[in-house]
């Protein structure tokens, strides 16, 4: 059995979720007989990793530092194998603008968007271009920070008047934001384990909460269906698309790809890829694994094995 360092917490806004993911991973690793070292990531990370000298690090962090390649880079320097994607894939997934450009270039459908930094508005007069953007994307427009997980800072703008406050909100989380065409349809999450897509999870918001992201972020106000009732053709297409994106961005181990199935056209669009999706009791990837007959302990065991024996 191996000595596994579980990296969790840190200073990101998703600290709480990460602590819950980490605690659950620790329990599973212990049940599997591993020697577990839990690390709430802070200023002593490198010193602790040197001292504890784990065989492998399980990165159970979400958001800044843990999911954007920063911690992965440190693990590379220290020569410690780690779970999930490497540095460059993490960087591409964490930055929605980068990943969407990569999808564009590869011909993978992602909703049309425009992206700006705060500097563009403050110093280059980008506000003058807002009217053109609004015309091309059509309302409602989704405004989101480029590199923030969960639904933090995401707003729907239904008219031109909604755009400035939505931008101010999004810029609270990031120096870069994107304005994206809103795809009306069904929300699908395809988790990948190894190089196999898992059964699809559909997020079904209560109708009245459709435009209320805070409601959708609140447990109990969105229900999840797994496997999603889609029909074989759409299921196959969504899973194939998710696997394409996973490979395109260079992910490994596991990840979750969020898709939209447009109601009007039946077309699939990729919204984003989560390099380290949540692993809590209510998270989507464990639900999907469960639907495939893979229990949580087995899931965690396989993820660690993959990290120790990279393909």
């Amino acid at each position: 059995m191996s000595r596994v360092a579980v990296l969790k917490g840190g200073g990101s806004l998703e600290r709480q979720v990460s602590l819950r993911s980490g605690a659950r991973v620790e329990d599973a690793l212990q049940r599997l007989g591993h020697d577990v070292v839990a690390i709430d990531v802070g200023g002593d990370l490198v010193a602790r990793l040197r001292r504890d000298a784990p065989d492998v690090a399980f990165v159970a962090m979400h958001g800044r530092d843990g999911e954007d390649g920063t911690v992965q880079e440190l693990l590379e320097i220290l020569g410690i194998p780690y779970t999930a994607s490497g540095v460059s894939a993490c960087m591409r997934c964490a930055d929605k603008v980068l990943s969407k450009h990569a999808m564009y270039d590869a011909g993978i459908a992602t909703p049309d968007f425009y992206s700006f930094t705060e500097t563009a508005f403050k110093e280059l007069g980008a506000a003058e271009a807002l009217g053109d953007i609004e015309e091309r994307l059509e309302f409602p427009i989704v405004v989101k920070p480029a590199d923030q997980g969960s639904a933090l800072g995401v707003r729907f703008a239904r008219s031109a008047a909604d755009v400035p406050p939505a931008l101010v909100a999004a810029f609270s989380y990031s120096h870069k934001v994107l304005l994206e065409r809103h795809v009306h349809g069904r929300e699908l999450a395809v988790s990948i384990l190894g190089d196999e897509p898992l059964p699809i999870v559909e997020a079904v918001p209560r109708e009245e909460d459709f435009y209320d992201f805070s409601a959708r972020y609140t447990i109990g106000r969105t229900s999840f269906v797994c496997p999603a009732q889609l029909g074989d053709a759409v299921t196959d297409a969504a899973q194939a698309l998710a696997l394409d994106v996973f490979r395109l961005l260079g992910c490994r181990g596991f990840a979750r790809v969020d898709l939209m199935l447009e109601e009007e056209t039946g077309q699939l669009f990729v919204l984003e890829v989560n390099a380290i999706p949540g692993l809590t009791e209510t998270s989507l990837l464990p639900q999907a694994a469960d639907a495939a007959g893979i229990g949580f302990d087995e899931l965690i065991g396989r993820i660690v094995e993959m990290a120790l024996q990279p393909a």
């Binding site: 800044r64 923030q148 639904a151 101010v168 805070s214 447990i219």
Partner: protein, 434 residues
């Protein structure tokens, strides 16, 4: 509020590198350690067995005598027999709900209301109706209109929850005419009022106002008091006095909840009142908090843009600041956290989604240096947002960069990366003179 987003943000405010104006903590660092040692030693020598034993549910006579003394000091005489000692003031809110509220019942509260009462109201599934406030506290005319409306719907509130003095979070105080009218309204309509009065004795200026309980002689007013803000929140002692049938039910509820409040704490309070002058300590706290309030008001005037407004409390622990409506303070908190400073977003004080542009700022539990630095950082973030909105709408000019003009330091480049929270190298922030 119940949003997990806000909970997740608030979790980060507890990190050591963050200057948190989000707390509601009294400053316990000034309580003399030798006094604490002497009092505990006396307790051990003379009453160890009793201090380690259960106490009566209603509380120990010696503690209730101290409570009567505190209430008399605030012009609210009470028979110690009519007092129920509780585990903090918070337990009173819980017991009142437990006694009176069935799921779906209406509870009337102020807008904004005490964020700590919100989860309690929610756990009893109360339908909370919030009444606006102005500089004179709750708008009693709006209260009456709301009660009329509820009446036509056949709904009768179980009680009206108010913090009349130095309200948490708004910092405002209910004026004397409104106090009198509120008590009349309660009497006319035979409605119970829960008067939450943790801060009444922490007045830094102006004339004291009578408690609702003293105006009503306890007929319709349930009174909530606490030692948390005049002595220590760590001893977890509060109290209530209420109309007899309500008090009886609360006593039963308390038996079910925790049998009794700690005998140890009750004897500590009794010993403290016997040997020390609690009024002297109260005066020292008032001096400390008055100075910190003034520090915060000065810092707000210096660092917040003219688009912001804030209350000027005559006492208590909190200032309530309101920003232009296009700024959402929950989002703003994310940006503030990247500058290692925190506050409570206004939404936490509402059950109906309002309060999005306001924030609660605490001045009692933070050093003067941290107050100045914390407000400076929040002010910077707010000005950035105001300026950004100006450029987005082509309206107001960007906020001027005053940092160099006023000799203030430039922002730390390590803090520039939004939401990144670098650990501070200096372990003791309080000595940091920036």
């Amino acid at each position: 509020m119940k949003s997990s987003a806000m909970r997740d943000l608030m979790a980060i405010t507890e990190r050591p590198e963050v200057i948190s104006l989000a707390g509601g903590l009294p400053d316990t660092s000034t309580f003399p350690a030798e006094s604490l040692a002497a009092l505990t030693a006396k307790m051990a020598a003379t009453g160890a067995a009793r201090a380690l034993q259960y106490a009566p549910t209603e509380g120990m006579a010696a503690a209730k005598a101290c409570i009567a003394e505190v209430m008399a000091y605030e012009g609210t005489p009470v028979d110690p027999e009519d007092v129920l000692v509780t585990t903090g003031g918070q337990q009173v809110i819980d017991l009142v709900c437990k006694t009176l509220v069935d799921p779906g019942d209406v509870v009337v509260a102020e807008a904004p209301t005490y964020p700590g009462a919100v989860p309690t109201f929610m756990s009893y599934q109360a339908d909370v109706v919030q009444i606006a406030m102005d500089d004179d506290g709750m708008r009693v005319d709006e209260l009456e209109a709301t009660l009329d409306r509820l009446d036509t719907e056949g709904r009768r509130p179980k009680f009206i929850y108010t913090i009349p003095s130095f309200q948490n979070p708004a910092g405002v105080t209910l004026s004397l005419p409104r106090r009198k009218r509120l008590v009349e309204v309660a009497r006319e309509r035979e409605l119970l009022v829960l008067e939450d009065n943790p801060y009444g004795l922490l007045r830094y200026e102006g004339e004291p106002l009578p408690t609702l309980h003293s105006l009503d002689h306890g007929e319709f007013v349930i009174y909530l008091g606490t030692f948390s803000k005049i002595l220590s929140p760590g001893i977890r002692l509060g109290w209530t006095t209420a109309p007899a049938p309500v008090l009886e039910k609360m006593n039963l509820g308390k038996q079910g909840a925790d049998l009794c409040s700690p005998a140890f704490s009750q004897m500590f309070v009794a010993s403290y009142f016997e040997h020390d002058r609690w009024q002297d300590y109260l005066e020292s706290l008032k001096d400390l908090y008055r100075r910190r309030r003034d520090t915060m008001l000065d810092a707000l005037a210096e660092h917040f843009p003219r688009e912001a407004s804030w209350t000027r409390p005559q006492g208590g622990l909190f200032i309530w600041a309101t920003l232009p409506e296009y700024i959402d303070t929950t989002d703003l908190l994310a940006r503030a956290l990247s500058h290692n400073v925190a506050f409570v977003p206004g939404r936490a004080a509402y059950l109906d989604g309002r309060g999005g542009s306001s924030m609660r700022l605490n001045f009692s539990g933070v050093s003067d240096d941290d107050i100045r630095e914390g407000i400076r950082r929040i002010g910077d973030v707010v000005r950035e947002q105001v300026g950004l909105y100006g450029t987005l709408t082509g309206g107001a000019a960007p906020a001027p960069r005053e940092a160099s003009a006023t000799g203030r330091p430039e922002p730390d480049p390590d803090l520039a990366d939004v939401l990144h929270l670098p650990p501070r190298t200096a372990p003791d922030r309080r000595t940091d003179a920036r």
